[in-house]
Structure formats: structure tokens, C-alpha cells
Symmetry: C2
Subunit: 271 residues, 2 copies
Amino acid sequence: MNDLDLTTHRLQPGQPVNLSEIETDGKAFHDDRDAAEEEFEALVEELAEWQRRLYAEGRQKLLVVLQAMDAGGKDSTIRHIFGRTNPQGVQVHSFKVPTAQELAHDFLWRIHQRVPGKGMIGVFNRSHYEDVVVVRVDRLVPESVWRARYEQINQFERLLADTGTTILKFYLHISKKEQRKQFQERIDDPSKQWKFSFDDLEKRKQWDGYMAAYSEALARCTTGAAPWYVIPGDQKWYRLLAVARVLVGTLRQMNPAYPAPERDLSGVVVE
Amino acid sequence: MNDLDLTTHRLQPGQPVNLSEIETDGKAFHDDRDAAEEEFEALVEELAEWQRRLYAEGRQKLLVVLQAMDAGGKDSTIRHIFGRTNPQGVQVHSFKVPTAQELAHDFLWRIHQRVPGKGMIGVFNRSHYEDVVVVRVDRLVPESVWRARYEQINQFERLLADTGTTILKFYLHISKKEQRKQFQERIDDPSKQWKFSFDDLEKRKQWDGYMAAYSEALARCTTGAAPWYVIPGDQKWYRLLAVARVLVGTLRQMNPAYPAPERDLSGVVVE
């Protein structure tokens, strides 16, 4: 097993981020799609084995956060990366527009309820980062409120990390041009039309506002314990490979193991 | 596509059940393991497609309840049947020994919180049926309490069914001899030892009590809306096939479809 480089797309704490200047083209990082797909297949197999060990060990926790613009590939990433793991040990939660009850609490209340327990992989399809992005672009709360959330998020993620959770946050980074292509495909393909919403076009008009909001959120909430990865998303095959490398590389470091039996079983015979 | 027979292992409402007299040997129903495995592969592929449609449609709900004696194959069934579906649309919940907070509520309180929402498949690894089986064998509550639960369960499942949930309940039925074989394998194989617990041997001593408790629970809680299936479990390959047939056959009847777009999309061009 070669070591996997985890740093290629990882942001550094304290560095400014400008998403408009970060590459969305996977071909800038990999020039062989066939080789990438082959490596991805092997990594997905390896991931399934690590997931079994993590679950059997029942000690460590892994939280995977996915954020992206619409059509950025969140659903596709979840399906392909976790499509061969055991659903008993992988809990995916899609955070939607908050309910009245959720809004009656602090913004991390509903998030905290969904973090993974021991032995589990938790996957967030959208997350508490909506609360510093969409609420900012749509002016749903005053700036003083969303701005205070950066530190609240960092403290919250620090709590999770300090109590045994490994946190990986992926921003799937597509270009505005690629989003147009994806939207048009959804419109033109009857089997994909159900995914399309006219609201998506409204959000698309605010592209620059979203890039600014994401850039600041990623910069302010990249910590040693919970870094952001900005994954070039214009090619699905590279996006999947890049996420899989970080996941598997991280699990190799976590190195979960099948636990020893509660006591020596040698010679035990079942009657 | 041939029609799948859903009735082979389905219990009938109002009929007495004696598990000791129900076949655990899959070979009594199928004599060609290779053909069974081939059919299973095709069914699992089909299941993944139905699950995508169910999720896209976002209207119907499917609840799958799994019960079995230890080493009866619950975990294995979940892994193999749902190992290729999208974890975003499949939520597995393993009910453990109730916590103090759970015990402070009625026995269906924690169950109700985990039932699937629209578009979802919910899988229960153990369930509210523990509350009429283990509590009876271990005398954790008086008979008047667990006996009242049959009707409480039927009313609860009726509520779920009446509000759009299709319910499939599988009892994975292994012989006492097969359980010995499985336990011994766990003891003798270092990579499986972590699954073994000496508590399991204590439960094994109460085999007859468990059979009696399960038999009555299955008989009393088989309704038209929520039938039990008793799946012969001694051969893994037949157990998987039999469960897959019922699941896929049921989804064919539910027949979820990709939804139409919110309005006509013809001619829409993304800018």
C-alpha cells in the first residue's frame, strides 16, 4: 500500500481562502481517467473493510461533512463512496430547511443529535455550514449572528474531536459553467427532471455571494482538528478519487482493529 | 420478470404458530445453491433500483423488521441485502438494551422515533418484539404487562400502515444445532471472536423458552397490514434469497416511480 497524500486539497488553518481562485478542474491534478477509476475501485473496496473494522472495534467515530453548490455532486459522492459499505455502520443525514422546532433551538442543536456514535461513520449531506452560508446570502439573520457562528462551530467541532471523533469536511468545488451543464442535463433528461427545481436557478443568480460566503466559512472554520478539503468537482471521476483517497488515508491512520474477545476462548466448546 | 411468490414463508393472521415445527432447512425449499445465488445477485441489483425510485418519489415508506436468535443472520442479512443500496435512503437502526431514559417511557417510544419517513427504507435490527420476547423469558416485567403489548404493537403497526408505511417482518429461523455451529465458528476463528459473548451461551440455555415466546408473538402480531415471514435460516444462501424475494416482490407492488417535474421543463435553458 502506497501512502496516500492527504494534503493536496487540504486547507491550512489561518490562511485566507478565495474559492474563485481555486481549481475546479480535476485534470489539473490527474491526467489518466482510466487509472483514476481503477484506483477508486480499489479504494472503495478498502473503505468497506475499514468500515467493518471501525464498527467491530466500536471505539472511534468518523464524521464526514459534505457541502457544495447545487449539482456539485453531494448525492453522487455519497452513493459511490458509501455504496458498498454496510448501512448498519454508516448513517447518512440530509439536513433540509430547518423546521419550526429546530429553529426554536440554537443552530447546532439538530446537528449534535446526528453526530456518529462509537464505531460509526456519520455522513452529513449539508450541515451546520448552511447556517453561515445560505443564511448570509439570503440575509435570514443579522451579520452579528452568523459571524459569531464561526467560533461556535469551531468550539463545537473541537468538542467532537476531543471526545473521539475524526472530522473530515469536503467542499465539492464546481465551476459556474459546470453547474450550467449539470442543470441543463437534468432539464433535458426526463429521468433526471425530478431533481431540478426552479429555486436552483434563483440560487445560481447569487453565485458570487455564495462563493464569498463559502470562502470565508472555509477559511474561518479550518482548524487542525477539523480541516476543510476543497475538492475539484468538474470531473466526477477525479472528485470521487480525491474524496476516497482522503477517507481511506484517514482510516489507515485511525487504524481500527477487530477487538480481542472478552476473555480467552481457547478450548471453549458450545454444547 | 417472473412474479415472485410472497406467500411461501408468510404467516397467516389468526393461525397458531409453533416454531419448533417450522422448517429451518432451506434445502427443503430450494435444491440448487448456484441458481439461488445467481437469482439473489439479480434481485439485489433490482432492489437498488427500486430504492432509488422510492427515494426519488418521496411518498411511500418501507419498514423492515429483523428478529432472530443470536447468530441467526441479522447482521449478515443487512450487509448482503442492503450492501448495494444508497445509504442516503436506507436507515438501519440496531436496538440495544434500553437506556434508563428509554425505560422511563413506554416501550414504543424509542421505536416510533426511528420509523422511516417518506421515501425511506428503515431497517430494524431487533425491535419492539424484544419487549414481548426477552422480557418474557427473563421475567423482566409481569405477564400482564408483556401480554398487553401484543395488542399495543398491532395498533401501533396499524397506525404506521394506515399512514403510508409498508411493513415487512422477518424472523430468521435457525435450528439449535445450526446456532451451535455458528457459535463454535466464532470461537475458533480469531477474526470472529469479537462477535462472541458468554451471555450468548446463557441465552442458548433458554432456547425452548425463546421458541415459545417467539411463537406466540409471531402468531399474535401477524396482521394483514404487518405480516411475519418465517425464513429458513440454516443455509445463508437460501435465507438471503428468501428475504430478497419478499423485499423485491413487495417493492414491485409498491411500484415507486420517478416523480414528474414541478412544471413543464421543455425549452428551459440555463444561463
